[in-house]
């Protein structure tokens, strides 16, 4: 097929362009110039990703031929460099972590054998782009760009607060843009070796970013992340060895074209790699540990984009896994993770940990959808990826901004934010609503999922039903904290500058994704499903859309109505058993005055964190092993 010039160029632009700002940022010291560079780089990346979505012919997959042998060689050199760099970094490991360099070395050897020891046919089209990739690219470009834009201000403040830390901001911004480039690589690569290369770069970026602050805790957590991702990398390398034979080139296409049986083992191995990257149980602990990194990193790598690489690949594998026992077990890993992580999120009061567990939980749902692999569930998976990326980025950046205003990441310290910092609170509220509430993101997907699961995987439907309860619980109580209004709360410093821009755009994006999701579905997801299965999917019937639109409309209109009340009702202080002592204080025994202090429920003795982690990890481990064994 003739490749339209423009889309192809945009793909290559997205792959290579971020490296420019990355290298420049590695050299620049001045704060002003850095801000400018970051802004320009982010804007150009976002614009290109949007342009790609616009010029991509609807519903088509573009195979991009890339005849230069130089590219292949560059990838090989790059892989060697990354491996050596990681091995060198391992000089700081502890004894318990001694297995990490072993795994990395094994990975390198396997790959060396795959590349040099065997005679693989050349890959004619190492890159491709289909509607789903274009959607992912748009997410990476826009959300990633906004997070990049937000970072300089945050990092400046971070270093003001932590003068003891070494200022490594040049490396930081280099990594941010390198990471963007690698993420585009992951979504566009068809050649498995290229995909592996980009995959490893994301691992590398994540490793370096988690260790950014240089504290002992950060270093250990970075190595934990590296170790678990290296396990995934090893599985990936094995998959390459198995997928590429002398007759078939090692491309992602194997999942669709190879004979069902032959594709299963490499697909299972790749899915395993996806599980590690997207922090599914039993590998979730690295993502929780990754929360020591500065907040923009958490937003960019560990919630909105990098972990999505894992589920992205798993979704791509769905055709090979659909209807197999391996796929069934994979779906169960996702379902278990969804439920367990939701329960764990209930017990946390640290905002970033709640976000981390909810990310794990959400990705679990996506994995479950991919494992089932019917058109409906893949549709739901794609929509989940979209909603989660936008809303989660917004929430992370919001938490970061709150942290710098309030001085705490604890949800208990966010009480009354709607009164003290209304803009910030509204950003958080929109994010939370986008995450779980009807008629928004999660809901649409949950709705599509439940329908499909009732037919295809009853066990998962049950897990989904059970997981949605705690999900509701932990989001609602957070929302409640934000909107409670202690008496005497006064507005104070709200968001400013680039932070404000990034948050505002993300608020609009989240709201837009919720309001206009049928467009996203029609533009990206439906054509992709059509291309994949050859049959259109009529999930969103007109009457259901109407109902959802009406619900959304009510949410928008009702606040307006309630502010049109003819007469402001009388203000009465809250009931404190008649003992109000002004404001939120009451008179207690012996005439002492106490302030009212309200804490949310964390049910820590009901959902015991350790017990849940242990049980769910064990279960997930069994399922994962079973998944590989049955492949």
């Amino acid at each position: 097929m003739e490749t339209p010039l423009k889309a192809q160029h945009l793909v290559i632009f997205l792959l290579l362009f971020p490296l420019g700002p990355a290298l420049l940022l590695a050299a620049v010291r001045g704060a002003g110039f850095r801000r400018l560079l970051v802004g320009a780089g982010a804007a150009a990346t976002a614009a290109a990703s949007v342009a790609l979505a616009a010029v991509l012919p609807s519903g088509e997959t573009l195979w991009i031929a890339f005849a230069s042998p130089f590219a292949d060689q560059a990838v090989i050199v790059g892989e060697i460099v990354v491996t050596l760099f990681l091995l060198a970094a391992c000089r700081r490991i502890r004894r318990r972590e001694a297995w990490i360099p072993v795994v990395i070395a094994a990975q390198g050897l396997l790959l060396g054998w795959a590349e040099f020891g065997r005679d693989l046919p050349p890959v004619a089209t190492p890159l491709y782009v289909d509607p789903f990739s274009a959607l992912m690219a748009a997410i990476i470009g826009i959300v990633g760009g906004l997070i990049a834009l937000y970072s300089p201000g945050y990092m400046a403040d971070h270093h003001r607060r932590h003068p003891e830390e070494k200022d490594r901001r040049r490396g930081f911004f280099f990594l941010i843009f390198l990471f963007l480039s690698a993420m585009f690589g992951v979504v566009f690569a068809n050649h498995l070796l290229w995909l592996y290369f980009f995959w490893e770069i994301t691992t590398l970026c994540s490793f370096l970013m988690i260790g950014y602050t240089g504290t002992e805790e950060a270093t250990r957590n970075a190595f934990r992340a590296l170790g678990m991702n290296a396990l995934g990398g090893l599985a990936f390398a094995l998959a390459i060895v198995l997928a590429g034979t002398s007759s078939s080139a090692p491309t992602l296409e194997f999942a669709r074209v190879a004979a069902p049986g032959a594709a299963l083992l490499p697909a299972a191995l790749l899915a395993f790699a996806g599980l590690t990257k997207s922090a599914q149980l039993p590998f979730s602990s690295w993502l929780l540990g990754a929360m020591v990194a500065p907040t923009p990193v958490s937003a960019l790598l560990h919630s909105s984009t990098m972990v999505k690489a894992g589920v992205f690949v798993v979704v791509k594998l769905a055709p090979a896994l659909h209807g197999t026992r391996t796929g069934f077990l994979l779906a169960l890993v996702g379902g278990t993770t969804f439920l367990a992580a939701a329960l764990l999120a209930v017990t946390q009061s640290h905002a970033k940990r709640v976000l981390a567990w909810s990310t794990v939980s959400n990705l679990g749902l996506i994995v479950a959808c991919a494992g089932v692999g019917t058109p409906e569930t893949l549709w739901a998976a794609a929509m989940l990826i979209l909603f989660h990326a936008v809303a989660k980025a917004l929430l992370f950046l919001g938490v970061g901004a709150i942290e710098h205003r309030v001085g705490s990441r604890d949800i208990e310290d966010m009480g009354g934010l709607i009164a003290t910092r209304p803009r910030l609170a509204i950003a958080m509220i929109v994010g939370i609503l986008g995450m779980f509430l009807a008629p928004f993101g999660m809901l649409i997907s949950k709705w599509a999922c439940l329908k499909a699961l009732a037919d295809h995987n009853l066990l998962l439907a049950v897990l989904l039903a059970f997981g949605s309860g705690p999900t509701l619980f932990f989001w609602t109580k957070w929302l409640g904290k934000l909107i409670s209004v202690p008496s005497g709360a006064r507005a104070s410093d709200d968001v400013v500058g680039d932070e404000r821009l990034a948050l505002s755009v993300l608020v609009l994006l989240t709201a837009g994704a919720c309001g206009l999701f049928p467009l996203a579905a029609a533009w990206f997801v439906d054509p992709w499903i059509l291309g994949l299965f050859g049959a259109p999917l009529a999930l969103l019937t007109r009457s259901n859309l109407l109902i959802m639109a009406a619900m959304l409309g009510m949410l928008v209109i009702l606040p307006a109505i309630s502010f049109l009340q003819p007469r402001e009702p009388r203000r009465v202080p809250p009931y404190l058993a008649g003992a109000n002592a002004g404001g939120d204080a009451f008179t207690g025994a012996l005439g002492a005055t106490h302030a009212v202090s309200l804490r949310n429920y964390y049910l820590a003795d009901f959902f015991e964190e350790n017990a849940i982690v242990r049980t769910a990890t064990g279960l997930a481990l069994l399922l994962t092993v079973g998944m590989l064994a049955l492949a």
Binding site: L458, A465, F473, V485, N544, I547, L558, P569
Partner: protein, 285 residues
């Protein structure tokens, strides 16, 4: 389309009348169970009309918005149901309504409301699985998520879903705010919670809460009816019987703790609900 519209109009007009009468009957029956005479049948209407005339106060200017939203989403939820729409959307709208109610209580920053709000979402966490499984069960047995398709299919859902039905009865006690699971807004005051979630509401917003509760009760009995929809008259009889059973249970039990509530509802969902679904899936399909 026409019947759907008729359903919505009927829901909007008749449901509060039916719900109010049921609430009145509830109070009389409760009184009789306690050896008293009890109020007139129309007492709930008197109460609501009186509240409408009171000059309510607020703790802050946001709180009434949440109550209006609660009311609106309960109405929307029932409208979807009685228009014959998607059961899952009915449940989601009802969930949204519940969230709004809890948020209203949170917004007041009052200790009693706060505990009420926390318990309200605990209750929601408790009943959500069983509610969703009930919808899934109806889909498995009746081949549709749509109320009108389920109602007109002629399939005796309750016979295929006895476990789901029992589980649903259990969470119905939570949803109807009846003992032993009336954790968040105890209808009998003078307890540790004062009035829990509605403590800080007065006047019209409190009236809205009462009326929304009538609507909600009718909607929930609509769910019960759906189990028996193969014979509509039997369905109405079953719904009424279930309601009066709940009143008796309400009077016979003291309140249990939230832990017992969550456990009971989840165990019911896992054993009665999930097992029943598996049996339906394996045997009937």
């Amino acid at each position: 389309m026409k019947t759907a519209l008729l359903g919505v109009v009927l829901w909007l007009i008749a449901a509060p009348l039916v719900g109010g009468l049921l609430a009145g009957a509830d109070r009389i029956l409760s009184a009789r169970l306690q050896g008293r005479v009890g109020p007139p049948l129309l007492q709930p209407f008197y109460d609501a009309l009186k509240l409408w005339d009171k000059r309510g106060g607020v703790v802050n200017r946001f709180q009434n918005f949440y109550m209006v939203a609660f009311f609106a989403f309960v109405l929307a939820s029932g409208a979807i149901f009685f228009a014959g729409g998607d059961l899952l959307l009915v449940i989601f709208a009802l969930t949204l309504a519940g969230v709004m109610l809890a948020l209203g209580a949170w917004s007041t920053h009052s200790p009693y409301s706060h505990v009420g709000a926390e318990r309200e979402i605990l209750q929601m966490m408790a009943y959500e699985p069983m509610l969703l499984l009930a919808a899934v069960g109806m889909y498995l047995a009746g081949r549709s998520f749509h109320v009108n398709a389920l109602a007109s299919s002629g399939i005796p859902l309750v016979l295929q879903l006895p476990g789901v039905f029992l589980g649903f009865l259990l969470i119905l006690t939570i949803k109807l705010r009846k003992s032993p699971f009336d954790l968040s807004a105890s209808h009998h005051a003078h307890q540790e919670l004062v009035r829990g979630i509605t403590t800080e509401y007065s006047g019209r917003s409190l009236a809205l809460f009462e009326i929304a509760h009538w609507y909600e009760n009718v909607l929930l009995l609509g769910f019960v009816w759906l189990f028996f929809a193969f014979n509509p008259a039997l369905g109405v009889a079953a719904a009424l019987a279930v309601y009066f059973l709940e009143v008796v249970v309400d009077n016979a039990y003291a309140r249990l703790t939230w832990k017992v509530t969550v456990r009971a509802a989840w165990i019911a969902a896992a054993i009665l609900g999930a097992t029943n679904l598996a049996v339906v899936k394996l045997l009937l399909r």
